[in-house]
Symmetry: C2
């Protein structure tokens, strides 16, 4: 797998990588446990604070780690990791299991949360859970991105976007239409 050199990135601009809808890897930790899960159901909800929503059911082992720690990291894997992403999705986490070791991924200490960053991913967004009130009705965590780490190169990652039934759409080219936009609508 590739590794990327990363730098701090403005948290109010994480939509650049999340709004296109990639599959992400969620890393979490609570006490002596860590876990990783694949997630496709997420959305941007605000620029400032940098708010996200995501859907994680209690059937996921990660659910309790996130709910109890009130922290998680959203990592963006690139297409070279597609088999790893699928295998993580296939693998139900359990107490004491080390998914980093199992899948050859490298945990890196985050700056502001206990959940580890995944070194092999293009970007990692440290998130705090700011609202658990929608969990029971909608299995939805409301998050705030408190720190963003993004690869310095390439400018945009090659990402995978899940359609269900085993099919991924792979990201294509990036095109700027900036001149056609009104400034206030960018």
């Amino acid at each position: 797998m590739k590794t990327y050199i990363k730098k701090d990135f403005p948290v109010d601009k994480v939509r650049r990588f999340l709004e296109p809808g990639p599959i992400v890897l969620v890393s979490s930790a609570y006490k002596d446990e860590t876990n990783i899960m694949a997630m496709g159901w997420h959305m941007v909800m605000e620029f400032e604070p940098s708010r996200l929503g995501c859907f994680i059911t209690a059937a996921n082992h990660s659910y309790e780690l996130i709910r109890k720690s009130r922290e998680m990291v959203i990592n963006i894997p690139t297409v070279d990791m597609i088999n790893t992403v699928i295998d993580i999705g296939n693998c139900h986490g359990g107490k004491g299991e080390d998914k980093f070791g199992k899948f050859g991924l490298t945990p890196v200490d985050a700056d502001n949360v206990s959940a580890p960053l995944i070194k092999e991913c293009y970007a990692s967004f440290e998130c705090r859970v700011v609202d658990t009130g929608l969990l029971r009705k909608y299995s939805m965590f409301v998050l705030e991105v408190v720190k963003a780490h993004v690869a310095t190169s390439p400018k945009y990652p090659a990402t995978m976007h899940y359609r269900g039934d085993g099919v991924f759409m792979l990201s294509g080219k990036n095109v700027s239409y900036k001149s056609r936009f009104k400034q206030q609508n960018l």
Copy 2:
């Protein structure tokens, strides 16, 4: 612009087109007004009922039409419509304005909601608003897809995915990894 021949599609499978994160066009109607807006902040929340969440602020003219009618249609435009999508995003709706006429789009009567389908789009999902309780805090509508119309060809649409700052990621190729998935995780 292209037009597509469409057929009914199972509402519990709309994630095939929405989970990859395309920009969508939202059509709405209330009394004698209709409107169209571009939207990038949405997520799948459940298969059955077919539940979606989306972020629309009160600053959008569509907001009141959707809130009062409790209905909207999510339409999936394809890359050939990219200039139209940008121009719709640039254009703040106002009372009495006909965005269908202005942008050369064709309204088609929906089966179950008052908001019109956009004929030129690849797919249209008729939605009812099922929860307005998150509007004040999060500008979030919770929707249920009650009817889905999807083009019979091509199998997957060429979609645009917004990154902000005038940049779109265009959808690339679709690949099946079905054989690598455990059946229950598809």
